[in-house]
Subunit: 383 residues, 2 copies
Amino acid sequence: MGIEEMIVTPWEVVGKIDYKKLIEKFGTKPLSGKLLKKIEKHAGKLHMQLRRGVFFSHRDLDWLLDKYENGEKFALYTGRGPSGPVHLGHLIPWVFTKYLQDSFDAKLYFQMTDDEKYLITPKMTSKMALNHTYDNLLDLIALGFDPKKTLVISDMRCARTMYNIALNVAKHVTLSTAKAVFGFTDNSNIGIVFFPSIQAVPAFLPSILEGKNVPCLIPAAIDQDPYWRVTRDAAHKLGFYKPAQIHSKFMPGLGKGGKMSASIPETCIFTIDEPEIVEKKIKNAFTGGRATVKEQRRLGGNPNICSVHQYLYYMFEKDDDKIKELHNLCETGKMLCGECKQILLDKVQPFLKEHQKKREKAKDKVDEFLADNKINIKLPWKG
Amino acid sequence: MGIEEMIVTPWEVVGKIDYKKLIEKFGTKPLSGKLLKKIEKHAGKLHMQLRRGVFFSHRDLDWLLDKYENGEKFALYTGRGPSGPVHLGHLIPWVFTKYLQDSFDAKLYFQMTDDEKYLITPKMTSKMALNHTYDNLLDLIALGFDPKKTLVISDMRCARTMYNIALNVAKHVTLSTAKAVFGFTDNSNIGIVFFPSIQAVPAFLPSILEGKNVPCLIPAAIDQDPYWRVTRDAAHKLGFYKPAQIHSKFMPGLGKGGKMSASIPETCIFTIDEPEIVEKKIKNAFTGGRATVKEQRRLGGNPNICSVHQYLYYMFEKDDDKIKELHNLCETGKMLCGECKQILLDKVQPFLKEHQKKREKAKDKVDEFLADNKINIKLPWKG
């Protein structure tokens, strides 16, 4: 792979990603062995995504765990821009968030930024955005989150609470800061310019709803980091704890290089894909294989650039020994791409079959998860 | 009075106002005799503020009245930035709006922009802004608006509806337009940059709530005109009628020149002022009188620059013959400022006494006027 420019913003991930450079660029910290041990102590075991460095960077996680050890529970905040169906790449931080929820008995605030998607997508109507929120919520519920500890916030549906709290943030963010951090230009619409204030709200909601300062941890892909810089500044000004963060890498797509992207459907396996479609996508996936079987037997494949291997590594092969073995079998030419694809397929198909069942059942549970009235803040009123 | 620069923006009115020039500058139209006759035909009589040119300019009022004559009722939209107590200057367009409501059986949407005031006033908390909304609402109710035909919208309290509709507006307004029209700079906060979208909403609410395009008329001082230019553009893009407008002049303050301003309390009579305070303010008011009694008897006063005369003219002397007589008595030196001040005082005191009584009673009626749940728009939702 040649030298490619690396572009990482909340809207664009291009090129071969150097995660060490990203840590430097964003000014975050690598997840140290010491921190991992601390997590392991409380969680009982380290999640596969921690063992394998899928989550690899953080801000203030050390502070958050100290607080936890001193008896201050933290809340979790993550979210989704509901622009279309959910794909497997989206599930990675959600699965990890569930592990954190279960391990630390943490409440989760899950934001559906339907307002953002409506604002930045020319052809999207607000109805479409809300429909995506509903559909994506089914995927979230299907993963088994605890409804007693999970509030799903649709920005549009919860607009009364979101807008009122966002005003407090907005008052402290100048246009100049927003332009510098998010790259807004004179052509940006005034809705998306305001949006970072809305995006900040769930970091403060736990404190507002519980009436005391509550530490907050945001698990998200590292490209979302700029948003939280503004949120952290606002937190400081408004007297809230700054939210801590734990950053993941990007789930590779089935195509060559780059992030799995819903805008290139053949590079993504959507959770609602039919089995035949899934089979076709995996069979056509980009691998690290050689041009011919003969060559591959002789020289071996390259699992490090192989999207099939990455899928197994990031999500589907949970056994560390087995994933190492697969890596080795590939490099030594003992396993061909077809076999490896079949291994992945045999894991993805039953997962999706089960997920789709749970997704159907989730339709009855939507109301248990929706924040709506549960977070309807009381406004001060003389009368 | 020397030559002064004229500055008129939604936030600032400075200098001697040339209303003809404002009509040219803003590109509005003067209220023609033909239009006034049309209003008179339907209303039964012309309101004092129309007869005397307090309302003097318009946009599309001819179109609106044609629609009315063809059986399409219009809605009224006006509002208030609740930054503190209401003064007499604020009542002028409200009294006029009530005349329109009564004469044309029109629904009124009255917006309290507590969000705006919170965003642009450094020391104002959201609690203070909401308290002002409540207090100002009492003044509105005291004027006798029909609760069945009046919806008072607090942007903060109605944020769910307001934000969701504002998103539709915001998507069509670029930062560049907002900067050009409202003068936002890089130091503006991102909340106030978004605010024009919220300000536009009540112009579309009648159509949204009634499920059909409803003409809308905005009575407001002419300095608010820029806001509606953006609203009119958005209306066009969203398929709503453009709101028509009828513009008033500025209520003069008790000080020399300029607009009555709540930020200079001695130039305003607040509706909650005690009688002694009112007396003191009127006694100290700037007039068109001469340095000495003798001189005034000989040369006469100048009612055209006299704030006391303006108060009588704009609001308190409803008899056209009497106001002409007072003008004449002043110019010919037959009446001195002290007498004239007493005439005003004798009208203002009983008005305020009555108003303050009604204001107290209004506390029981607040819920009848508040939009809150009445305009809680239903969002499309698959589930």
